[in-house]
């Protein structure tokens, strides 16, 4: 079985104003069902790495495999399709569309994938909201929800297409202690009961320590994984 995610010799440089190598020879694998945290100090390149792994940043050298398929030489459209189908995102900020109801926000990536009928997608979205305990808020608009609830909606949205891997960029960074714990418990629940693969970038040591595996970075290199 091929790993969910594999990075081979990934390097990245920033050229402006002077050339700085931000990532040096990154090699690692994430297997299916793993709950991995990516930690390190500010500026160590962990977010940069995450965006390369997410296929959104294509300006790097080295090879990236998602589900055993190389991301090399893929067009923008193909990468968008891969993100849609295989990757779920949770960011520090919720990025919900205020014009749409909570339910519709969760449904959007599903509608884009167009694998199921609209009724099925709606049903699935409600299921995801139920897992996260916010099915009662389904018809509200995002700006009627609390910060913790919004982040849970964002997690539900990342789950809608049953992704291969969920990537998080400081998903608890904007939340208070109580909500952080709730979100962490949700991730843990997803990893253990649904065998969901997760890769979460965090600088919250407590959060990282509770994960199954920690990848630690320093100065653009992986120092332990």
């Amino acid at each position: 079985m091929s790993p969910s995610l594999e990075a081979k010799f990934i390097q990245k440089e920033f050229h402006d104003p002077v050339t700085i190598q931000v990532l040096k020879d990154i090699n690692f694998k994430i297997n299916k069902g793993e709950f991995v945290s990516l930690t390190g100090k500010s500026g160590c390149g962990k977010s940069t790495l995450l965006y390369i792994l997410s296929t959104m940043d294509t300006d790097y050298s080295g090879e990236l495999f998602i589900d055993g398929i190389s991301m090399h030489n893929k067009t923008e459209n193909e990468l968008a399709r891969i993100r849609n189908e295989k990757i779920g995102f949770v960011f520090q900020f919720h990025y919900l569309l205020n014009e749409f109801s909570v339910l519709k926000n969760v449904m959007l990536p599903g509608l884009k994938l167009n694998k199921y009928t609209e009724e099925e997608i709606e049903h699935r979205a409600l299921e995801k909201l139920k897992i996260l305990g916010i099915e009662n808020e389904a018809l509200k608009l995002p700006n009627q929800l609390s910060g913790g609830q919004k982040q849970r909606v964002a997690i539900a949205r990342s789950l809608i297409n049953d992704p291969l891997i969920i990537m998080g960029d400081e998903p608890t960074g904007n939340l208070d202690k109580k909500n952080s714990v709730i979100v962490f418990d949700i991730f843990k629940e997803l990893a253990h009961s649904l065998k969901q693969t997760l890769l979460i970038v965090t600088h919250d040591q407590e959060f990282a320590n509770n994960c199954d595996r920690i990848i630690e970075m320093e100065d653009g290199k992986i120092i332990s994984s």
Binding site: Y51, A80, R83, N84, F91, E99, K112
Partner: protein
């Protein structure tokens, strides 16, 4: 991506900023309204002015011209004799104005498929005698029925009934200008002197007003028979054969053909009235220029609003792209927004344009020069509505294209990491 999904996202973005959207759509509506009104009005005027001359001008006129022969006998042998001819001021001999074999020519033309109708005419130079003074005049001998059919003669007869020409012997329809000078009323008898010096009495049965002062002062109409009597000629004496074609554009070609075939002079409408074509086309050009300017201004409005929308919705665009919408999808969404503004704005613009032209059509407009016109002239040519619709869609598409391209190129990483 399902097209519906793009529509739905575009719709919600539009409705989220419905006031701005409305302003943009009103901009398009306004410019299309003005475009339609302007073109309708301008073209109504064009059609009126063209009609004034073109409708009353035959497409081809066959006539005989008195002119010296192009092959003078003296020239025939002078080249070989190596001599030079010093004869000046050569005059035509007493030729005739009437067309040879006019009646057979008319019956031949009636069989021609290109021809809509034929009206024979006979012009006579006369003087209208007003007491001691003589006024210059031209009496046109016409066949009232043909003239009415081809040139809408009756619409220019402002007083009296033109059909009386056929009924009342020695009757005349006087030009309004001439009648005013002569202080005549309907039923009066006037006296004219022909170019040969004969005096004839004619009964005024109507007035004629073309809207062109110079014509109204000089021209009058009688029946062909009366005019022939006036000139003392036989019933086959006809000076003009006026031809109306089914297709006006064929006139120059057919004029040449008839000229050769019947050995007469032939002039086509394009040659005779070249200035009207020019006037019409320049007026149309000006209306288009103004209309397009208005639309471009509206286009800038749409461009601005879309640009603002993109800055406001940066986050939404970033997350759409992160969750799998491609640049093409995002572009499609913003183009859809621009086009829907264009289509709605354009549709109402066409509607209001029609309304406004209809209102203008009702405004009274009386001028002594144009007796047949009671309200402002307006054209409802569907072609302009089509052009207006197409323009509204094209300009909004172009206005939307650049912001949409910009949106499609937004890098989600920069937006998301920037938070």
């Amino acid at each position: 991506m399902k097209i519906n999904l793009g529509f739905e996202i575009a719709k919600s973005l539009l409705l989220a900023r419905w006031k701005q959207t409305l302003v943009a759509a009103i901009g398009v509506t306004f410019s299309i309204t003005m475009f339609i009104t302007l073109l309708g009005f301008m073209n109504g005027l064009n059609e009126l002015l063209d009609g004034l001359i073109l409708n009353r001008t035959p497409h081809i006129r066959l006539y005989n011209e008195i002119k010296p022969s192009e092959n003078q006998p003296i020239n025939i042998g002078s080249d070989s004799l190596k001599e030079y001819n010093f004869i000046h001021s050569i005059k035509p001999n007493g030729g005739r104005l009437s067309i040879y074999n006019a009646i057979p020519i008319i019956s031949k033309l009636k069989e021609d498929n290109n021809i809509l109708g034929i009206a024979p005419k006979l012009s006579a130079q006369v003087f209208y005698n007003v007491g001691e003074t003589d006024l210059n005049g031209v009496i046109n001998g016409i066949n009232v029925n043909d003239e009415q059919k081809l040139f809408a003669f009756d619409t220019y007869v402002t007083k009296g009934n033109c059909n009386d020409l056929n009924v009342v012997p020695n009757s005349i329809i006087l030009g309004k200008g001439a009648a005013d000078k002569m202080l005549t009323n309907i039923g009066d008898i006037i006296q004219v002197t022909t170019s040969k010096g004969e005096r004839v009495k004619l009964k005024v049965i109507g007035f004629f007003q073309s809207g062109i002062q110079d014509i109204d002062k000089i021209q009058s109409y009688c029946s062909i028979e009366t005019t022939q009597k006036l000139l003392g000629v036989t019933s086959n004496y006809i000076t003009d054969i006026q031809i109306k074609l089914k297709d006006l554009t064929k006139a120059p070609k057919l004029a040449k053909y008839y000229s050769k075939l019947f050995q007469v002079e032939a002039i086509d409408i394009q040659t005779a009235n070249a200035q009207f074509e020019t006037g019409s086309s320049i007026r149309t050009l000006i209306s288009y220029a103004v209309g397009i300017t208005l639309l471009i201004v509206a286009g800038f409005g749409i461009y601005n609003i879309l640009n603002m929308m993109i800055y406001e919705k940066m986050d939404s665009i970033a997350i759409l792209k992160a969750t799998g919408f491609s640049g093409k999808d995002v572009k499609g969404i913003f183009i859809t927004i621009a086009l829907s503004i264009g289509i709605f704005g354009g549709f109402f613009g066409l509607l209001f344009g029609f309304g406004l032209t209809s209102i203008i059509d009702q405004i009274p407009f009386n001028t002594p020069a144009l007796p047949t016109i009671k309200t402002y002239p307006v054209s409802y040519n569907p072609f302009y509505y089509m052009i207006g619709g197409l323009f509204s869609i094209a300009t909004t598409y172009l206005a939307g294209l650049f912001p949409a391209k910009k949106a499609s190129k937004i890098d989600p990483v920069i937006i998301i990491r920037g938070k």
